[in-house]
């Protein structure tokens, strides 16, 4: 929310290759204290690679990476005391129970939260004695998030935390994340869900092919690309796009998925002109509506790909 003092994460010109694949190709960004920062990007964009370098799990090829102002490659042990980590793939000892795992991981840290409190935070009370291998996918995901919170970390890395959760569990995780932010925690997360990024992230960076394409708050990103709003209705042969492009306020007209979309600077003028035209022709535009551009539009525009492909 507020960015004050020294950033908790500082990344400058970070590069990481796997053979010929440039997984991360010269990215720079900062995350302020108390900020929720989202990394968005299609599969293979380099999000996980970036996060795991910050967690001290992979070596960067070049560039500087600091957490709490300390170089990650040189101060990993003391940084690890203060961060919480949830990996993209759930990774738990299969035959230990929820309680045993939280106790065990707690013992790795100088300070840790009571297991009961963590179990309640992710709503796993009923499964506290279940072995992790017998949990459902969503329950494992929640346990993995509880494990990320075991040391009451100042900075939390969440790599696709809500993938595999049902809508209700996703909502309750959103509340959990907002609660963490309310307590001054900083969070770096990745997600493939637009609503989620819009709901939780103070700022997002959109990545593709190892580059950051765009960075800022969600309204900023939308405003930067789409000054217009869209007027849309079911395409009709009696209303050719070429003609519609000349209506008041319209900057661009297109047919997308069986709908005619008019991007307009002046929505009231455009609709007035459109209705005048349909009156004249004595037809009814079906499913007429107006919408704001979304992060999804920004994303499509930037990467040419849907967020989940």
């Amino acid at each position: 929310m507020t960015q004050s003092g020294e950033p908790v994460i500082g990344v400058a010109n970070l590069c990481k290759c796997y053979g010929d694949v440039k997984a991360v190709d010269g990215i720079s960004f900062q995350v302020g204290r108390g900020e929720v920062f989202g990394l968005l990007g299609p599969n293979g964009a380099g999000k996980t690679t970036t996060i795991e370098i910050l967690e001290g799990l992979r070596e960067p090829d070049s560039g500087s990476v600091t957490v709490f102002g300390m170089d990650v490659t040189r101060h990993a042990p003391s940084i690890k005391q203060r961060i919480g980590v949830q990996l993209q793939t759930v990774s738990l000892y299969p035959r230990l129970t929820v309680t045993e795992l939280l106790d065990l991981f707690g013992s790795f840290y100088a300070h840790h939260l009571p297991t009961k409190q963590l179990i309640d935070a992710v709503d796993l009370g009923e499964r506290a004695k279940a072995r992790s291998m017998n949990l459902s996918g969503g329950q494992q995901q929640r346990l993995s998030i509880a494990l990320a919170l075991v040391n009451d970390p100042e900075l939390i890395f969440l790599d696709e935390p809500t993938t595999g959760l049902d809508p209700q569990a996703r909502r309750s995780l959103w509340d959990l994340i907002k609660g963490l932010q309310g307590r001054g925690k900083s969070i770096l997360m990745t997600t493939h869900y637009m609503e989620e990024a819009a709901e939780l992230c103070d700022r997002v960076a959109i990545m593709d092919h190892g580059h950051i394409l765009e960075m800022g708050t969600v309204p900023e990103l939308i405003g930067r690309r789409f000054k217009e709003r869209a007027v849309f209705f079911d395409t009709s042969p009696k209303l050719p796009v070429e003609q519609l492009g000349k209506l008041d306020g319209v900057t661009r007209a297109a047919v997308e998925d069986g709908q005619t979309v008019l991007y307009s600077r002046d929505v009231a003028g455009t609709i007035g002109a459109l209705l005048g035209l349909t009156d004249q022709l004595n037809i009814d535009p079906h499913n007429l509506g107006i919408r704001q551009a979304t992060l999804e539009d920004v994303f499509l525009d930037l990467t040419g790909r849907a967020l989940r492909d």
Binding site: L92, F105, Y109
Partner: protein, 360 residues
């Protein structure tokens, strides 16, 4: 409770809750001890078999034979001295009582005479039992026939039984096999944990890596001790295989052996990527050792070519060392050489693992 202990407990829990792992580490060797014990054991009743050689053939000698056969702890077989000596050397019997000709005449004349008792001083527990029994029988005889004066004495003879019984051979060998499997099979959960990303996840915590490794080693060494106690216990209780050597030396060897094979397991885990690979390769490594290292039959029965192969296998030396220390087995190599070879494997494989082990 500190981190190392917690991790060790976590490892023990994971093992105990894994049926397949439990089978290989405990039930498989136990099954083998029973199986081969029953096949080769003959008298599984805890009795001591002795040979009785009657060169006298008088009522006195027959009385003595009857006295010995009435002792419930003993089973008696009779035959010529040559035959009985051969049987003792082969490990079929533990002692021989010889009544020389002229004993009956001497007793009748109340002049001092003696019977001979062949024992193997290296299997001291059995020898002591037989000695005591023979003493009691002799003094009972003296009391009855000569009013207490020492007419029949006992002349102790020693006979090294160079060949131990099949069961006595098998018990330490199967223990060696169990330790080998315990160590080599350690590769599987390690690879599993790496494949699942558990090692990586732990790498994101401040836990020192040596503790992760240490807890694994600690857990396996504890299991090694339990395996040893269980296998030797079954050998003793069901098949009367006595541990004659120094227990401390035996325990040391158990730990050294477990350590060496654990190092081999870690080295294997360094090169294996998937769980399926690990399960396959581990079997390829352990099967030939199990059959060629002189576990189920003596090394000498192998054709020359396979003996050479077996001489490269660390299990050959662990089994040899355990047999030497525990049951006075004949040696494949001197004990010092066994220990040196096992230590060599430990150091080299640990070095390989330390250099090549990947956490991810």
């Amino acid at each position: 409770m500190n981190t190392l202990m917690r991790l060790t407990v976590a490892n023990i829990r994971s093992l105990v809750r894994d049926r397949a792992a439990l089978f290989w580490t405990f039930f498989f060797p136990v099954m083998f001890v029973f199986l081969f014990g029953w096949i080769f054991g003959g008298s599984g009743d805890g009795k001591v078999a002795i040979g009785f050689v009657d060169q006298d053939n008088t009522p006195v000698s027959m009385g003595l034979q009857q006295a010995f056969s009435q002792v419930t702890l003993l089973t008696i077989q009779t035959g010529s001295l040559e035959a009985e000596k051969a049987a003792m050397q082969h490990g079929d019997i533990s002692a021989i009582v010889v009544v020389p000709s002229g004993t009956g005449v001497a007793v009748a004349a109340k002049s001092a005479t003696s019977i001979q008792l062949y024992i193997d001083p290296s299997s001291s527990q059995v020898s002591q039992v037989v000695e005591q029994i023979a003493d009691q029988i002799a003094s009972g005889f003296n009391l009855q026939l000569a009013g207490g004066s020492a007419v029949v004495g006992i002349q102790q003879m020693t006979l090294q039984s160079t060949n131990i019984s099949t069961v006595a051979y098998l018990v330490p060998s199967i223990l060696a096999m169990a330790l080998m499997q315990l160590g080599v099979f350690a590769a599987i959960p390690l690879v599993q944990q790496r494949e699942k990303g558990i090692l990586k996840r732990i790498g994101a915590t401040p836990l020192a890596r040596w503790k992760l490794v240490g807890s694994n080693v600690l857990m396996r060494l504890m299991v090694a001790i339990v395996d040893a106690v269980v296998i030797l216990g079954i050998g003793l209780i069901f098949f009367n295989v006595q541990i004659v050597g120094n227990l401390l030396a035996a325990a040391g060897l158990v730990l050294l052996g477990a350590g060496a094979f654990l190092a081999i397991g870690f080295a294997l885990a360094s090169f294996l990527k998937t769980e399926e690979q690990a399960t396959g390769v581990v079997q390829v490594v352990q099967m030939p050792m199990m059959f060629l290292s002189g576990i189920f039959f003596s090394f000498d029965f192998l054709p020359g070519f396979l003996q050479t192969v077996a001489r490269f296998m660390p299990l050959t030396y662990l089994a040899d060392a355990l047999r030497q220390v525990m049951v006075n087995g004949t040696q494949v190599a001197p004990l010092g050489v066994d220990v040196a070879i096992l230590t060599g494997w430990l150091v080299v494989c640990l070095g390989i693992a330390a250099r090549s082990f990947r956490w991810e």
